[in-house]
């Protein structure tokens, strides 16, 4: 009997994977997963260009500079003082701006911009009539700092939106889609236990979403690290927990697919219109920090947030309520988070298995 179940499970998974992985209707999931990859590829391109430009400026400056040298330039210094401090600039831009001096008089003010770099940061000095009026020191890309940005994109865009909507589309359609296509009865007409059918469909959805989103996450990480110098990259990966973070993100992606998948599988069975459960789950996950402790645990994001390896700091000036949404004031331990999420998912799957046994074929009501 069990070998039959296993063969049937594989048959269901094969059918379902064909629909998701290789069908045109599954293309949108690839697009959702690809967008953040493209974003970080654009980031890598931008980083490369900035680094290239800064290296170029540093090379063409009169002398090698340090960060302290750049900081030594202050507002109010004259051209000569700046040149004496940091040398002749790699590039100079000069222009004139007319300004009114009296009732019918005007004169041209001379503006100049000097550009310096130490290879990591850039210094822009804008002179008006020979005096430094604007002094800007701009940081180049810092891997350690940008890893926090990466964490923010992962937590607030990739988890809560990309994986959320990707799982919505895949898991909600496992049964609801068959009902709308009027093809569910073919599964029910086969000598297969409905629980096996449900398990097969869920596993197929999980394999599909996990594969696509884990691949996306790996590509994002690769694109993110691509533009940095190998020394900087290796330092981050092997000495600053970069590799552990990358592995954690992959694990969290899989867990998110499990959690959201179970939720949307059950929603697809109980609700004809997914807008209602989608909106409810979106809002529920959004207000999770404000819920009582018991209700907090009935949520996917509650466990996933605790597993994220990098804390995203609250931007200064953010209202306290919004700050609460971003921060995670009561994180739980990793084993508890994993166990909790899997338990919630299993409960959802159990309820789905009860519901699938009770399902009837009545397409006319759809």
């Amino acid at each position: 009997m069990k070998s039959v179940w296993w063969r049937q499970l594989k048959a269901v998974m094969r059918l379902e994977l064909k629909k998701t992985f290789f069908a045109r209707r599954g293309l949108w999931i690839y697009l959702v997963a690809l967008l953040p990859v493209l974003l970080f590829m654009a980031y890598a391109t931008a980083v490369s260009r900035v680094q290239g430009r800064m290296a170029d400026v540093a090379r063409h400056g009169q002398k090698p500079l340090t960060y302290q040298d750049l900081l030594a330039v202050k507002q109010g210094m004259t051209n000569e003082e700046v040149i004496a401090s940091v040398g002749k600039p790699a590039s100079t831009v000069r222009w004139k701006v007319a300004r009114t001096t009296g009732a019918d008089a005007s004169e041209d003010g001379v503006h100049e911009r000097y550009n310096y770099s130490d290879g990591q940061q850039e210094l822009y000095v804008e002179f008006v009539d020979g005096r430094a009026e604007t002094v800007i020191v701009r940081d180049g890309n810092n891997l350690q700092r940008d890893s926090v940005m990466f964490a923010g994109v992962f937590q607030f865009f990739f988890l809560r939106l990309a994986i959320f909507f990707g799982c919505l589309g895949v898991f909600m359609n496992l049964f609801r889609g068959e009902i709308l296509d009027r093809s569910l009865h073919f599964y029910f007409l086969a000598p297969i236990r409905r629980e096996v059918l449900m398990a097969g469909k869920f596993l197929a959805g999980l394999i599909a979403t996990s594969t696509i989103f884990v691949a996306s996450e790996v590509l994002q990480t690769t694109a993110f690290l691509w533009a940095f110098h190998p020394n900087v990259r290796n330092l981050y990966l092997y000495h600053n927990h970069g590799l552990e973070h990358a592995a954690a993100y992959v694990g969290i992606t899989v867990l998110a697919c499990i959690g959201y998948g179970a939720f949307f599988l059950i929603a697809g069975m109980f609700f004809r219109n997914p807008i209602v459960p989608t909106a409810v789950i979106l809002i529920w996950e959004g207000i999770n920090p404000f819920l009582p402790a018991v209700l907090k645990q009935v949520s996917v994001i509650y466990y996933l947030k605790s597993l994220c390896p990098v804390d995203v700091p609250v931007p200064p000036g953010m209202p306290p309520l919004l700050a609460l949404l971003i921060s995670n004031p009561e994180p739980i331990s990793e084993p508890v988070a994993v166990f909790g999420l899997l338990t919630v998912a299993l409960v959802a799957l159990y309820v789905s298995s009860l519901q699938v046994r009770r399902m009837e074929i009545n397409y006319t009501t759809e």
């Binding site: 909507f165 919505l168 589309g169």
Partner: protein, 285 residues
């Protein structure tokens, strides 16, 4: 009696005007709209905030009452910000209503093979699109610029003709701001409805376009340290247009002109999708 035994004569009576036939679609779609309890309840809820605003206008012009309950007379100020907030709230409700109504406009016709039935009659694709979008346009108008104009008229009645003349531009902003939002929502909902045969998927897609688009835009801005990500955020674009229309100072990163162009591009894309999909036939290979 068999048909061949009957003497068949074609209809020779008066025909309705060609220009008004799209109203047939509107009538039937509108009737179906209010068969759903959820949609009826949501439509009713859309009038709560305007009623609240009505109360606010009344209170703002009854200072003696406010003084009696110990409230400062300047608490409620009926100005451009007041109408901007009205439009913002009603705009959100309009989106929610569209998420319920919009998907059911074209998807069922596609799924059930009804498009050939429409187009085998003297009925063009343009009329079909106008007829279907009129449901959304008229329903959303009922919750956006129409109550807005009613409130404006009531305020004008209280405040006098001088106020009405000085602030007539607010009425224009209400109408234009509402119409552009209605156009965007209608075209987007119909384009998504035309592209997926399942009504429920179209609804989920509409939510995804809004939320995912906004999130993706924020991600672009955070990663690339630019402001162009806001072009993916429909809500942000609309807010930029509205703050400009209502002459409110804000720290929007996009200019109103850029926002208008972006919205126009969205409309053109949606129209293109509609033209591509709304056809009398479908080739299956």
């Amino acid at each position: 009696m068999a048909i061949y035994r009957r003497s068949y004569k074609p209809y020779t009576g008066a025909l309705t005007a060609t220009w008004s036939r799209w109203l047939v679609l509107f009538r039937y779609a509108r009737r179906n709209l209010f068969r759903s309890k959820v949609q009826t309840v949501l439509f009713t809820i859309c009038f709560f905030y305007p009623l609240l605003c009505l109360g606010g206008i009344y209170l703002a012009h009854n200072l003696s009452f406010l003084a009696q309950i110990g409230v400062s007379g300047n608490l409620i100020s009926i100005d451009n910000r007041f109408f901007f907030r009205l439009l913002a709230v009603q705009g959100v409700l309009a989106f929610l209503l569209t998420a319920f109504i919009g998907p059911g406009l074209i998807s069922p016709d596609l799924a059930n093979g009804a498009l050939p039935l429409y187009f085998c009659r003297p009925f063009s694709r343009a009329e079909y699109i106008v007829g279907k979008s009129s449901v959304l346009a008229i329903t959303l108008s009922q919750i956006t610029w129409i109550p807005g104009l009613v409130l404006f008229a009531i305020q004008a009645g209280f405040a006098g003709p001088r106020w009405a003349w000085d602030n007539l531009w607010i009425a224009g902003s209400l109408i234009l701001g509402s119409l552009i939002w209605i156009a965007i929502l209608s075209l987007l909902a119909m384009a998504l409805s035309a592209w997926v045969k399942w009504r429920i998927v179209a609804g989920a897609l509409l939510l995804a376009v809004m939320f995912f688009g906004a999130g993706f835009g924020q991600a672009i801005n955070a990663v690339l340290r630019i402001e162009s990500g806001y072009f993916f955020n429909l809500g942000y674009l609309m807010a930029a247009v509205w703050t400009d229309l209502f002459r409110i100072e804000s720290e929007q990163s996009l200019s109103a002109g850029d926002a208008w162009i972006a919205l126009l591009v969205y409309c053109v894309i949606c129209l293109g999708l509609l033209v591509r999909k709304v056809r009398a036939y479908e080739v299956v290979r």
